[in-house]
Amino acid sequence: MAQKIDVDFGLCESNGVCMGIIPEVFDLDDEDYLHILQDEVTPENEQQVKEAVRQCPRQAIAIRDE
C-alpha cells in the first residue's frame, strides 16, 4: 500500500520546519505558501518525512495510506 503526504493547509502557518528537514519534499514559496514537491513516502525519505510530521509545531502534516 502506498503512503502519501497530506498537509492540512488550513493549519499550516508557514513555519518552514518541514522544509528545513527535507527540502526535496516541502518547499515554501516567496509568497509563504507551502508546496509538496513529492507527495509519496518512499523508503529513502520516510525517516525524514516522519521527523517533519513530528516536528511540525502546528501538527499540520500527516501520512495517509492510499
Binding site: G10, E13, N15, G16, L28, D32, R54, Q55, P57, Q59
Partner: protein
Amino acid sequence: MTATELVFDPFSEEFFNGPWEIYRRMREEAPVYYNSEHDFYALSRHADVAAAFKDHETFSSAYGLDLAMVKSGQPAPMKMIILMDPPEHRKMRSLVNKVFTPRQIANLKPMVVDTIDRCFTAADLEHFDVVQDFAAFFPVEVITRMLGVPSDRRQQVRQWVDSSLHREPGQIEMSPEGQQAVAEAMALYYELIQQRRAEPRDDMFTRLVQAEIEREDGQKESLEDIEIAGFATLLGGAGAETVTKLIGNAAVTFAQNPDQWQKLLDDRDKIPAAVEELLRYEAPAQYNVRRSMREVTLHGVTIPAGKPVFLLGGSANRDPEAFTDADTFDIDRDRTEAQNLGFGYGVHSCLGAALARMESAIALERLLTFMPRYEVLWDQCQRVAMQNVAGWSHVPVRVVN
C-alpha cells in the same frame, strides 16, 4: 509510600519559586495528578502532555485559560483564539497568522533592533536590572507597535497586563485591580478600533477592522469590536509578558551556567540554539489549562468529563524519558530527541513563536555585548507571582570589567 504528600498548587509560593522538584515527583509518582482542594488534574510527562496538546477534541480550550475560568464550567465569555476550539479557532486565527510567519517577522527585524537598542542608550553599567531596565520594556513596545497602539500608551499596556495576571499566593481569581486594568485596556482598544474604522492605517487594528470572517451560518461578516479588542488583549498580553520572562530567565540561567555563556561569547552563531534551550529549560509559559470533554483514563487514573486539566509543558520539557540529562542546561543538546513544548504544540501552538525567537535572539546578542561578564545580585532578585507565566520581575546585575 512517600514521606511527604505531593502537592502541586500553581498558586503557591513554592510553585512560583521553582516547581522542578514538584514536577519530578509528579512525573514519577502521579503522572495523572489530582488536586482535591481545587478539583483539577495535571499531566506532567512529555508523552502525555504532547498527546493532550494534539487532542483538542478531548482537551478543550473553549472553557477558559486558567483554573478559575475552567472550574466555572461555562464557555469562556471572551472572544479570543486562545479560548476557542476548531473550527471557529481556525477561522479566527487565519485572520492574523499571515502576519506572524517567520518570513513576515524577519521583515520587522530593523524595527525590533531599533526598539531594543533604544533600551541601552540610557543603560547604567553600575545599576542594570536585566528585567526592569531591559526585558520588560521592549517586547511590549514591539507588539503594541505592530497592533497600532500610539507610542505614549505602549508601556501602559504592559502595566495593565502585569496587573491582570498577578496572583498573591493562594489567589485564584483576578483581583479588582486586575479587572480594572482589563477594563482600561479594553477602553483604549475600543477607542483605537473606532479611529481605524474612520481612518485606516498600516497596522493590525486596521487589518482586523477590515477582515471578514465566515460565521456558523455561512454568512461573511466583519468582526465585532469585542472580537477585535479580544485579539488586541491576547496579542498584547502574550507579546508583552513572555519574552520579558525568557530574557530574565536567560540572565539567571546563564549566570548559573557560566560555561554556557562562554560558549555564546565564543560563537554567537549558537544564539538561536540557546533560545531553544532556554525555552526547554524554563519556558515563560509553564502550563496551559484545558477542560476534559469526555472521561479519560490514563495510567490507571480516570479523569471525569468536565474537569480542569493542567498540561504542564514546563514539566514535560524536563522529562528524562524525553530528553537526556533533562535538568542540565546545554545549548548544544540534540534538539531532535523530543519535541520542545516551550511554544506548545498543535492547533494552539504559539502564534508569535517567530517573533519571540527573533526578539530573544537580538536581545541575547545585545546582552553579550553589553555585559560579557556579569554577576547577578542574587539577594535583590525577585520572582513574579503570576498565573500562566513564570519568571523574574527583578534581576539586577553588576557588569564586570
